[in-house]
């Protein structure tokens, strides 16, 4: 793997390791020798059992936490520079909207901090509200919205400064199945409209397959990447989720997850099955 940066690379992670509580009894190797390259406009999902380091990897990319060794380049820059230049937007499982601000003002927060003036901000937040189909709710308070609507506001907010990269940590994790599928379609539409590079963390295999160009499978203790599965579903339609190809991809991801399941004694028997 070369460390040279070509213009098509949105994210270049090589040999990254991260240890929490180094040297004491609680030491956890959250990331071990992680290599990942994402090209511009690609949609990748990180999937793996709880504690395998998905969130940690996302935080490393976003410079929300540091790492111990290796190198990370976000659009050819260090994570810190990328963060300071506001090259990514982020959304979490909790919408984390600010109660004391209206929906519009929540979306405008990153713009305020980036020094946009008021009229520009208002134009932009109206545009984004339209994108997430919440135009009538700009003056509402966040707590007046349903969980799905709040999550849409959070996504609009992550897109506010129009960053090329979107980091999403289980953004639909707290939603019911119906809302979740609707949100997935909306995210795909937004992706088509904006051409963002997206790194998406999820626990759901079908969700990962449905959304992504590539599913990155991780396994814990130590947290590492164990498989990458290319998904080639083409344009998603109403029948995509029922297609054989979709099931085939879901099965591949499931097997990749099972292969490195070190949590039980049944590892070897699973291996036998595969």
């Amino acid at each position: 793997m070369t460390t040279t940066f070509d213009t098509g690379s949105a994210l270049a992670i090589s040999n990254v390791s991260k240890v929490f509580n180094k040297g004491n009894e609680n030491e956890v190797i959250a990331l071990s020798d992680v290599n990942l390259n994402v090209h511009t406009g690609e949609f990748i999902s990180l999937i793996g059992p709880s504690g395998c380091g998905k969130s940690t990897l996302l935080r490393v990319i976003g410079d929300l936490t540091g790492f111990d060794s290796g190198s990370v380049q976000v659009s050819g820059k260090s994570p810190e520079d990328a963060r300071k230049e506001r090259l990514y937007g982020i959304a979490f499982q909790q919408a984390a909207l600010f109660d004391w601000r209206t929906v519009s003002k929540n979306i405008e927060l990153p713009l305020e901090l980036a020094g946009w003036d008021k009229s520009q901000r208002e134009v932009r937040s109206a545009e984004l509200l339209e994108m997430v189909q919440l135009s009538e709710f700009g003056n509402h308070r966040p707590w007046e919205l349903s969980g799905g609507m709040q999550q849409r506001v959070a996504i609009a907010r992550s897109l506010a400064v129009d960053p090329p990269l979107l980091l999403m940590d289980e953004p639909f994790g707290a939603l019911d199945e119906m809302t979740r599928e609707r949100m997935q379609n909306e995210l795909l539409r937004i992706r088509l409209d904006t051409g963002k590079t997206i790194v998406f963390v999820t626990h759901s295999i079908p969700e990962a397959v449905y959304l992504s160009d590539r599913v990155v499978v991780m396994s814990p203790r130590p947290g590492r990447i164990t498989a990458e599965i290319n998904v080639d579903l083409g344009e998603r339609t109403e029948t995509t989720r029922e297609s054989d190809h979709f099931f085939h991809c879901v099965t591949s991801v499931r097997e990749a997850l099972r292969l490195h399941d070190t949590s039980g004694t049944s590892t070897s028997s699973f291996r036998g099955e595969v």
């Binding site: 929300l64 982020i90 979490f92 600010f98 109660d99 004391w100 927060l109 308070r141």
Partner: protein, 289 residues
């Protein structure tokens, strides 16, 4: 917005409850006196020791001192107003200092570790010991033509009592934002000051409002007690001492002063409630306050 209106009407209902509470206390007072005439109670229920409620009210219109044309009521009102200004001064100073300390302690872990024990220890010094000390030190202070006055000592003591609940409440409030909110701000490349202003401070409001209430009460109590222990004239504390000396001739008079102190408390509580409504009008009602 409807919720603001709800809050105001809620406030009105609480006010009615407060009135009902006062009425019940009055009734119990009279009832105690009545029982005292029938059976022997372990305390004195005579009109000398426990004047009738109506005697207290009639004392409102007594002349302040024999032959003066100001009534007791006017005197109490004037004294209450004076004490209120001192309490307000102490409150503002206390709140400012408390807030500043909270911000410093939040920003620098080092200061939280180093300062918090002193902040807590400061409240264990008894006021009785503190008051003469402050007056003593204060009297030696002068900035050119400006001379320290004992009223500053009263304000200082009020501030001393008021800053504590506020700094502790504010510190908790400033530390309230979730790690998710803080990570969001970091992802926006927000400076520490922006994080303080746009996240920590608004998030602290539900913690700040109850802290303000406690601080305001502390400032009032501090003022009255400080007036008594420093001997500052013109306030309700001093008036209470003076009227208490007249119990033999005018037993109801001192209670007018007590009403004045209660009034002081009510005015302050109403003001804080107004601040509460103003600050929390945009927050969900399930707030901590």
């Amino acid at each position: 917005m409807a919720s603001t209106r709800d809050r105001i009407s809620n406030g009105f209902v609480s006010f009615l409850w407060a009135l009902a509470g006062i009425a019940i206390i009055g009734l119990m007072w009279e009832l105690t006196k009545l029982i005292g005439t029938i059976i022997d109670l372990p305390f004195n229920t005579s009109n000398q020791a426990m004047p009738h409620i109506w005697t207290m009210f009639s004392a409102f219109s007594l002349p302040e001192v024999r032959g003066s044309d100001t009534t007791v009521f006017q005197a109490v009102l004037a004294a209450s107003t004076y004490s209120l200004t001192l309490a307000l001064g102490g409150f503002v100073i206390g709140v400012s200092v408390g807030l500043l300390l909270a911000i410093i302690m939040q920003r620098f872990l080092f200061f939280e570790r180093g300062l918090l024990p002193f902040v807590i220890a400061s409240q264990t010094v008894p006021l009785i010991a503190l008051a003469p000390l402050i007056v003593g030190i204060g009297n030696q202070i002068s900035f050119g033509p400006i001379q320290w006055s004992t009223t500053y000592s009263v304000m200082f003591i009020a501030a001393y009592l008021a800053f504590f609940p506020l700094s502790v409440g504010a510190l908790r409030g400033l530390q309230a934002p979730s790690s998710t909110s803080l990570e969001l701000m970091r992802s926006y490349a927000a400076t520490n000051n922006k994080v303080l202003w746009k996240l920590r401070f608004p998030a602290s409001i539900p913690y700040l409002v109850p802290a303000l209430k406690v601080s305001a009460a502390a400032a009032v109590v501090g003022t009255v007690v400080a007036e008594i222990s420093t001997g500052v004239r013109g306030g309700i504390g001093r008036l209470m001492v003076e009227y208490a000396r007249e119990t033999t001739s005018q037993p109801a008079k001192v209670y007018v002063a007590v009403f004045g102190a209660i009034l002081l408390g009510l005015v302050v509580a109403a003001a804080i409630t107004a601040v509460d409504v103003l600050l929390t009008r945009n927050l969900p009602k399930k707030g901590l306050a």
